[in-house]
């Protein structure tokens, strides 16, 4: 069996599974026979759920039609409560990007320092151990109170949740660079700065990138919850707003898009990881 035939068969199974899922979903939510006879005026008020026995849960066709509508006009802006999905996603991605980049800027240099200094490593360990398991949303009230800006508070929450995996992986990666590579640099009288960039950074890069990949996943998980809290804009706010509108169709569409964007972010980091990974 060649690899390509395996991939082909796996793809086929995936399509079959998707079709089965959509089929069951469609059957489960389709309209049944009219449940009761009533005057047309009353029926109009009650809607299809009461008159046709239609499930309140939208079927795949409803979701598809609505999704197509969204895809045709991703960037419309009809005021605070009615913006295109593209705009909402762009807000979320921008928040995640800002908070995440700030975390990269802090975690990697700090991780380098901690990894290279056993003293700092021991001294900071209790703080990291206590701060790491705190749910990022627990910081939200404190952030809102001190920063006094909901949008920046959301960015702060992303920052604080994505810093830990990166920091810990950088520390671990830097501290576990093989002694022999360090010795090579030492026998060549390579200075500390040059050693950090030519030996430690490339040696620790795969571990650091793995931490960054974990972080972006967590950041994308957290942004939805954070935006539900702070409101205003973003895909998390959109989900909550559509729940308040009782538009399950839109909620399902948002869930789908959150998944796809999360996957793309992960794939981007996976590609970077592959770029810095070296075979031994």
């Amino acid at each position: 069996m060649t690899a390509s035939s395996l991939r082909l068969r796996a793809g086929l199974v995936s399509i079959v599974l998707l079709a089965a899922f959509l089929g069951i979903w469609h059957l489960a939510t389709r309209s049944a026979a009219p449940v009761a006879t009533m005057s047309p005026e009353y029926a109009k008020l009650m809607g299809l759920t009461a008159t046709q026995g239609k499930s309140a849960m939208p079927g795949p066709l409803d979701v598809g039609a609505k999704l197509w509508e969204h895809l045709k006009r991703p960037f419309y802006d009809n005021g605070p409560n009615d913006k295109g999905l593209g705009i909402q996603l762009a807000y979320s991605i921008a928040r995640v990007g800002t908070g995440y980049l700030l975390a990269v800027l802090v975690a990697i240099p700090l991780g380098f320092l901690i990894g290279m200094s056993p003293l700092l490593s021991k001294a900071l360990d209790p703080f990291i151990q206590v701060l790491k398991p705190i749910s990022p949303l627990a910081w939200m009230p404190l952030a809102l109170y001190t920063i006094k800006d909901s949008s920046i508070s959301a960015i702060f929450v992303i920052f604080i949740c994505s810093i830990w995996p990166m920091l810990l992986n950088t520390v671990f990666g830097v501290a576990s660079v093989r002694k022999e590579w360090i010795n090579v640099a030492r026998t060549l009288e390579v200075g500390t700065i040059r050693r950090a960039f030519t030996v430690i950074l490339p040696a620790a890069a795969p571990t650091i990138l793995t931490g960054m990949r974990i972080s972006i996943g967590i950041a994308w998980l957290v942004i939805v919850a954070a935006e539900m809290l702070v409101g205003g804009t973003g895909i998390g706010y959109f989900v909550w707003n559509e729940w308040n509108n009782l538009s399950i169709t839109n909620v399902i569409i948002a869930i789908l898009l959150i998944g796809i964007v999360g996957m793309l972010l992960d794939q981007i980091l996976a590609r970077f990881t592959r770029m810095v990974t070296f075979p031994e």
Binding site: E180, N183, V184, R186, T187, L188, V190, V199, E280
Partner: protein, 310 residues
């Protein structure tokens, strides 16, 4: 020994042991090497050979004593002393050329890229890796990796080379070829070399002097054995030299029995005046009881005519 290029003067290495006690790996170790000589150290694991080498390299500091190289006490590592590591220690994210160029550019910071590359290429050619410059270490065999390690060490034109069992991880055939290469390069460049080995034949083939160390902890340098084999010895007829087996037996006897009992046997051993053993020379005793066999076979080729080794 008038010309002391390397002089190890009374070094010791101690580690804090359990319960406040200190473990002494070795102490009061004196050793000297003239310029251009190839010296091998043989001893069992745990006798501190690698520590001695690391101290010479500057990777480790002695607890006591000093090391003088070329008239200067060493402190820390130096580009004058290149190390060939047992595990080759190539940087896996760099190519062959990149690994050698890293060393070259570390020594000559002001050189431009082209000059560094040309210099690195010279040494890659020297170890016979022409054509593999752009391969990564993972694409190379063990022997080729160690060749890169040798090229990297030589490329900085060091005053001496330090080798920590450089060939122990290689198969016998590759090891032989690399020994030939190292021997050729050291003879051509007049390199001073200090090598740790477990392989008696490797020491006999390569070394001018063989340092025998007793077992640790509390290891001492027991004897310095002068290699009686001619400088132009060849691998193929090495074992036909009349003194080959005497030398080999002496070293093996030492490793098998005397390395354990040496301290008890020689209570008056003076670490500053380690006996020099000249195998087979009349008037100088071989320290072991196993006397070399009387020499019946005297048709060693190189004694009558120039070496036939290729």
């Amino acid at each position: 020994m008038t010309d002391k290029f390397v002089s190890i003067e009374g070094i010791a290495k101690r580690y804090p042991g359990a319960g406040g006690a200190t473990t002494t790996v070795f102490e009061n170790l004196w050793l000297s090497m003239p310029r251009g000589e190839f010296c091998c150290v043989i001893g069992h694991s745990g006798c501190g050979k690698t520590t001695v080498l690391n101290i010479l390299a500057g990777l480790d500091a002695p607890s006591e004593g000093a090391v003088i190289v070329d008239g200067q006490a060493i402190s820390g590592t130096s580009l004058d002393r290149a190390v060939i590591f047992q595990s080759h220690a190539l940087l896996p994210w760099r190519t062959v050329l990149g690994n050698v160029a890293y060393a070259v550019s570390s020594k000559w910071r002001s050189w431009d890229r082209a000059k560094v590359k040309a210099h690195a290429q010279t040494f890659i050619d020297l170890v016979g890796l022409t054509g593999s410059e752009h391969k990564r270490p993972s694409e190379l065999s063990g022997g080729m990796k160690q060749r890169v390690g040798i090229a990297r060490a030589l490329s900085i034109t060091p005053k001496m080379m330090l080798m920590d069992e450089p060939f122990s991880a290689l198969d016998a055939l590759t090891r032989g070829t690399l020994q030939d290469e190292v021997r050729r390069i050291c003879l051509e460049t007049g390199q001073t070399a200090f090598m740790i080995t477990h392989d008696v034949d490797e020491a006999i083939y390569l070394a001018d002097k063989i340092f025998l160390m007793t077992n640790g902890p509390g290891a001492v340098l027991a004897e310095v054995v002068e290699n009686p084999l001619p400088k132009d010895r060849g691998r193929t007829d090495l074992h036909r030299h009349p003194l080959y087996y005497a030398l080999r037996n002496h070293i093996i006897d030492f490793l098998v029995t005397r390395s354990k009992t040496f301290a008890a046997e020689k209570p008056g051993h003076d670490p500053r005046n380690v006996p020099v053993v000249h195998i087979g020379k009349p008037g100088l005793t071989v320290a072991s009881d196993a006397k070399p066999e009387p020499l019946k076979e005297t048709s060693w080729p190189s004694l009558s005519r120039p070496s036939t080794s290729s």
